[in-house]
């Protein structure tokens, strides 16, 4: 069972119990003893996922904008780290992982969708509390890093024109109203919506990438195109920064995927291996397409391909085998390439850094193919009893649609509200001058 069920799911309930009565006699005693190896790994995995956002993602993104906006991007990511951390302990953790009494296997009700406020301000958290085989504090931290990186991903869509204040307000509301419920549906264990449907999302294909991707698409449509886009070219100002950030994302992602096993074991090892293979395959695929289509493989192509492969393997990293991973990597390379080029051009929106094109589309590719490559016949861990590739893919698609619709609609409302009140966008003059000076009173470089 363990093979196709996120450990996080199994864990959801226990957390609920912890919330209700901290001294409940452990059902599975062996499991409730602290294992220092698992603890060591989860400490590190947490560090790695935070490293993905700062400096990883922030460099990846910042290199892609024009130099007058470089600090605004770094700043949005950095501030989101701080902001999301506080929101998480205030209520995010409890809303995402709190399991209320009525949340029961097989029953779909409000508790399947969202947690509660029982653990607001971490009021039930102690030094000695465990989450399975390691301290609950580390589970809180590990999940916090996911809570952090998701809104940071969205920043890629509205880069170079959104007000800093609007970013912070949107992030706050979105985390509480969108991330927490989607996370609850996926990972709060028995009784949770996606869990009941048997959806596979090992490390956050829906929760993180599709969720952020669709919000990003809504964002860039509502905030509008950058002045001069697409007539005027807006090439990356510092590709060395972007490639550096991509490298950091790659290495940090092992915390994301192998860390999602929540233990230092065979599944963590396999998650690491398949993550590497998908990423490698997607990188080579993207470069191959560029080479054939444009005559030259580019560094930006390599970096983007890698991220596409990382995104797509995320939900599958606990269920796919090595060859499945390569297939997922190739597919994500091809489809995200279209996402960041043709689809974007056709759509006519200005997804500045392809947050939707890579995370949204890559997330969908991954979520669907997770259902395919979990099958034992295709080298995966095997599907749950009674599931076929077909039914599994349908379950996957249901979770994708729920995420697209829920996140899309709520994001739309939030952006509209902010636009009507404080406004989403900086003035044209500020945009010309650059957000670094206009919004932060600083310059990136004085070389």
């Amino acid at each position: 069972m363990k093979h196709f069920e996120s450990v996080r799911s199994a864990f959801g309930m226990r957390l609920g119990l912890l919330g209700a009565a901290l001294c409940v006699p452990a059902l599975a005693q062996a499991q409730d003893e602290l294992n220092s190896g698992d603890t060591a790994w989860m400490l590190v995995a947490t560090v790695l996922v935070l490293f993905m956002t700062i400096p990883g993602l922030s460099l990846f993104y910042a290199g892609l904008v024009r130099s007058k906006n470089v600090l605004s991007v770094l700043m949005q990511c950095f501030t989101i780290v701080a902001l999301a951390s506080i929101i998480w302990v205030v209520c995010g953790y409890s809303l995402a992982f709190g399991v209320s009494e009525g949340q029961t296997e097989g029953v779909i009700n409000l508790h399947s969708l969202v947690g509660n406020f029982d653990n607001a301000f971490l009021k039930n958290v102690t030094v000695d509390g465990l989450a399975g085989t390691y301290p609950e504090t580390i589970f809180i931290m590990f999940q916090m890093t996911f809570f952090i990186i998701t809104p940071a991903l969205i920043c890629g869509a509205f880069a170079e024109r959104m007000k800093f204040s609007a970013v912070l307000i949107f992030t706050t509301l979105w985390l509480v109203l969108v991330y927490a419920p989607i996370c609850h549906m996926a990972w709060s264990g028995e009784g949770a919506l996606f869990h009941t449907w048997g959806v596979l999302d090992f490390a956050g294909g829906t929760v993180v990438h599709i969720n952020a991707g669709i919000a990003a698409l809504v964002a860039c449509i509502l905030v509008g195109k950058r002045n001069g886009y697409p007539q005027r070219a807006m090439p990356p100002h510092n590709m060395t920064m972007t490639v550096t950030g991509a490298g950091m994302l790659w290495v940090g992602w092992f915390g994301f995927n192998a860390g999602s096993e929540l233990a230092a074991d065979g599944t963590a090892g396999m998650a690491m291996l398949v993550t590497q293979l998908s990423t490698a395959a997607a990188t080579l695929t993207w470069l191959g397409i560029e080479w054939v289509k444009h005559g030259k493989p580019s560094a930006l192509g390599a970096a983007t391909g890698a991220v596409a492969g990382l995104v797509a393997i995320t939900p599958a990293s606990g269920t796919a085998g090595p060859m499945g991973a390569i297939a997922i990597g190739v597919a994500s390379g091809v489809i995200c390439f279209l996402g960041a080029t043709s689809i974007k051009r056709m759509g006519g929106y200005d997804d500045s850094l392809d947050a939707f094109g890579v995370h949204g589309i890559g997330g969908i590719v991954g979520a669907v193919l997770t259902g395919v490559f979990a099958a034992e016949s295709l080298g995966g861990y095997g599907l749950a009893e009674g599931m076929t590739i077909g039914t599994q893919v349908i379950a996957q698609i249901k979770s994708i649609l729920v995420t697209l619709v829920y996140s899309g609609v709520v994001s739309l409302i939030l952006f509209k509200l902010i636009d009507l009140t404080i406004g989403l966008r900086v003035s044209e003059e500020a945009e010309n001058q650059g957000l670094d000076l206009a919004e932060h009173g600083e310059e990136g470089y004085l070389l």
Binding site: M234, S298, T341, S342
Partner: protein, 113 residues
């Protein structure tokens, strides 16, 4: 006195400098510029978005010289900078009315060495 301004290809700077030294030039000022002309630029592609670079990196030399050696200096630049291919650049000659050495305050041709 004349000021000679030359726009050349960046990788020819060393050669031009040597050619100028050979005709006795001991001072000049150089700056990085971008040139637009007949030489075609190149295309860059970033995630499929084409970015046509029409302004090409060039180096501008400014040399103030006495009237007598203008011709010689122009020739030296041509020798050093020419590759025979489009984009080699231009030399312009401008009048200078006065020159002063900041350190000493002296003026005239003596300043130029």
């Amino acid at each position: 006195m004349k000021k000679i301004e030359a726009i050349i290809k960046p990788f020819k700077l060393e050669e031009v400098k040597d050619a100028l030294s050979a005709v006795g030039i001991q001072g000049l000022t150089v700056s990085e510029v971008k040139g637009f002309g007949r030489q075609k630029g190149h295309k860059e592609l970033y995630r499929g978005a084409e970015y046509v670079v029409e302004f090409l990196p060039k180096v501008k030399l400014e040399i103030v010289v006495g009237d007598d050696i203008v011709e010689q200096v122009v020739k030296a630049i041509l020798d050093g900078a020419s590759t025979g291919r489009i984009g080699d650049g231009k030399v312009f000659v401008l009048p200078i009315e006065e020159a002063v050495r900041i350190r000493t305050g002296e003026t005239g041709d003596a300043v130029l060495g």
